[in-house]
């Protein structure tokens, strides 16, 4: 029960234990815990950043979608307009073509008419000459009278 040399032995033992803990136990454990703390903090920060990025991306996606819709609508609009214009153009062209054809046909008709008229004049003058010759009983000097006859015919034909 009394104090003896064990006291010194215990003090020495105690000192050794404390030094061991101080050198080989405590720093390792606290370092690991500190590192974990940092990693957790980093992870939380990264998660937050990720969330923010996600939010941003969502916004971007919405914007892009809106843009795309707008563009699509514009494209459709232009296409419709162009279609209408093409149809208009084609109609116009067709109309013009038709008119041209009509014009040509009209020209032909006129020509035909003129030719027929000329033929008719010729025939009528021949008939008139023949008729007159018969009435006068003699031959009319064709070259001398043809001017007068032609005038007559022209008067008749001009009606």
């Amino acid at each position: 029960m009394s104090l003896n040399l064990s006291l010194l032995g215990q003090m020495l033992t105690f000192a050794c234990f404390v030094i061991f803990t101080m050198k080989f136990v405590w720093p390792l454990i606290t370092k690991a815990m500190q590192k974990r703390e940092e990693e957790i903090a980093d992870g939380l920060a990264a998660a937050e950043r990720g969330q923010r990025d996600l939010e941003l991306a969502k916004h971007k996606v919405t914007e892009m979608l809106r843009d795309a819709k707008l563009k699509a609508a514009q494209i459709a609009d232009t296409a419709t307009k162009r279609g209408v214009r093409i149809i208009e153009d084609a109609k116009e062209q067709a109309r013009k073509e038709g008119e041209r054809l009509l014009q040509i046909a009209k020209g032909d008709l006129e020509q035909e008419k003129l030719r027929a008229k000329a033929d008719l004049q010729q025939e009528i003058s021949a008939i008139v000459v023949a008729g007159a010759a018969k009435v006068l009983g003699s031959k009319i000097d064709e070259p001398a009278n043809s001017d007068m006859i032609n005038q007559l015919i022209a008067e008749v034909g001009g009606e």
């Binding site: 029960m1 009394s2 104090l3 003896n4 040399l5 064990s6 006291l7 010194l8 032995g9 215990q10 003090m11 033992t13 105690f14 000192a15 234990f17 404390v18 061991f20 803990t21 101080m22 080989f24 136990v25 405590w26 390792l28 454990i29 606290t30 370092k31 690991a32 815990m33 590192k35 974990r36 940092e38 990693e39």
Partner: protein, 263 residues
């Protein structure tokens, strides 16, 4: 000389006898002080080394990733001690926290020997030829004083290191009554300082010694009723041993932070 419950006095005395090693040559030349309490030294060293191996293993495998069970347990203790030290001690010291951890776990383990049935290890000792065995190292004044004097040396060391020898002397001489009454202050302060290791050692010793004694007394009861007071006292003792280890650690932290702070 084995334990004999039929003779209570001898039984109790036997249980409180240390296994000593005191060569005759030493005793003749130097007296009784040159004695080693082999049982105290043996159990305290075994428990301390066990504690260190356990913690060293955990520290070596300590990873910042997901901790294992061993690491978890050690981390809980380290966090607990670290929190207490940070609350109390506002400087920077590489020593105090590991010191506190060592004290807490080591003292706890030594106190825990109290919960092993009082006759178990002594009986085994008798069987292998060891006739006296006290298994609870903290019931030996040599151990508790060994701890508290070491702590006290640290307290003195830091007092002198931080405040300087003159500063420390001034602090002792000028409180609590001011510098003109230093003749009164000085003895008071010295008693106050010396009471620190004394109270540390005696508190731990007294609690554990009394606890052990009560276990021995319970062991003297008839076998069929031992379990009632035995289990009650054991359960209560789980609290005592933890509390005593905690108090020893806490007071060490407090004394050392007082040594770091000047008034």
């Amino acid at each position: 000389m084995s334990a004999d419950p039929s003779n209570p006095t001898a039984y109790i005395q036997h249980h409180l006898m240390n296994l000593t090693w005191n060569p005759d040559a030493w005793r003749q030349n130097y007296g009784d002080f040159f004695t080693f309490n082999m049982d105290t030294l043996f159990f305290s060293v075994i428990l301390g080394v066990g504690f260190l191996i356990f913690f060293r293993l955990a520290a070596k495998k300590a990873t910042p990733g997901v901790p294992g069970k061993l690491q978890n347990l050690v981390e809980v203790l380290v966090l607990f001690v670290d929190g207490l030290v940070k609350e109390t001690f506002h400087g920077k010291s590489k020593l105090i926290a590991p010191l506190a951890l060592t004290i807490f776990v080591w003292v706890f383990l030594m106190n825990f020997m109290d919960l092993i049935p009082v006759d178990l290890l002594p009986s085994i000792g008798t069987a292998i030829g060891v006739h006296n065995l006290r298994v609870v190292p903290t019931t030996d004044l040599n151990l508790t004083f060994g701890l508290s004097i070491t702590v006290f040396i640290l307290v003195l060391f830091y007092n002198i290191k931080i405040k300087g020898p003159i500063g420390y002397f001034k602090e002792l001489a000028c409180h609590p009554f001011g510098p003109w009454l230093f003749m009164v202050n000085l003895p008071l302060a010295i008693v106050h300082e010396i009471s620190k290791p004394l109270s540390l050692a005696l508190r731990l010793f007294g609690n554990l010694y009394a606890g052990e004694l009560i276990f021995i007394l319970i062991a003297l009861l008839p076998w069929w009723m031992q379990w009632i007071p035995g289990s009650m006292w054991a359960i209560f003792h789980i609290l005592i041993i933890t509390l005593q280890a905690f108090i020893f650690m806490m007071l060490t932290i407090v004394y050392l932070s007082m040594a770091h702070e000047s008034h």
